[in-house]
Symmetry: C2
């Protein structure tokens, strides 16, 4: 299994370089657990979903604590057939999920969001979950949407995507659960996600 | 068939509202061909791939002609089973592609990029193509990657995505061809795309 993300942070300020550089410190606790490589478009992070989603969450929360409008785009991917197996990506939740029914997975996902730490940072998120390589991909998508509606972070459905809203802790836990609990444990699943904070536009 | 995009423009300047508002004028020629709806995170555009990709291209080119670093994220989607049929989305290219072999589709895609108009704006793009709802989704992905490598806009492969580079005209034509020519004509296909211009980081 290969698990990772391409992450881009977009501070809407002329001091965007400073905001990005000062936010990167939030990744320090995760640097020994993730492979992190940056180019001019995005930062690749490879590793298990626990440090991966925590790192992405803390990076965005750090930037969102500054006053400027900031957004982040992340492409999460697990099980892409084109990527090599990587033992650092092993994930207990994913292995366990294999044997569970859809309703059991929904209940465990909801419990994880309920007990997520609060970071004290309000954010908006919009995302799409893609379950690749199987005929009945929409069953898992609809199962995930049911979970989202009961997650406490659901805002509304939009064309092609779902809106979440709430504390960064609960929202990124919702994303991690969507990523891990739906679609086959060994399957190819991706998320296309945008986060936003401090927007001048009323919600 | 339902075809559309969720589009977000991110100018990395404290004048981001001005850059966004002045760039929106680039959509005017397409407003009678597309349904366009904006909220605080993204702008939905629904319609046929000809005006859709032209509109997204012109929006980004207009923003990129200004001096500031600017990025754009777009989620393109066609054939999502959760969306209603929309006659304004009808697309001749998609209907024709149904009967063609992979190599014929690759050749037509390459010809379309070769004859794309030049806009005089250099851009970088990173994107992932997702073919949903079929077992052998990677065959079409690999077929698309072959096309990309011969498109003249290919920069390099990255984990989870492909980098393109070149004039906005050729690059967005490459994206449109990837979206239309690969995956079943009636299937569910999406693109997760990031464009960048005027970055202070050397490529």
């Amino acid at each position: 299994m290969f698990i990772g993300a391409q992450v881009s942070l977009y501070p809407m300020t002329s001091d965007f370089v400073d905001v990005i550089m000062s936010s990167l410190g939030a990744l320090d606790p995760y640097r020994d657990k993730l492979r992190i490589e940056t180019d001019d478009i995005s930062t690749l992070m490879v590793g298990a979903p626990e440090p991966l989603f925590d790192a992405v969450r803390d990076l965005f929360a750090r930037a969102a604590r500054q006053p400027d409008h900031v957004t982040m785009h992340v492409t999460f991917s697990r099980g892409c057939p084109g990527e090599p197996d990587d033992p650092t990506c092993r994930c207990e939740t994913l292995t366990r999920a294999q044997g569970l029914s859809l309703s059991e997975r929904q209940a465990e996902a909801q419990e994880a969001v309920r007990t997520a730490p609060a970071l004290g940072v309000a954010i908006d998120v919009q995302f799409s979950l893609y379950v690749l390589g199987q005929d009945r991909h929409m069953d898992e998508i609809y199962g995930c949407i049911d979970f989202l509606k009961n997650s406490g972070t659901f805002l509304r459905s939009k064309n092609f995507c779902t809106r979440l809203q709430g504390d960064a802790g609960a929202v990124f836990e919702t994303l991690r659960q969507a990523f891990l609990r739906f679609g086959p444990a060994e399957g190819h699943v991706t998320i296309d996600m945008t986060a936003s904070a401090n927007s001048p536009i009323a919600r």
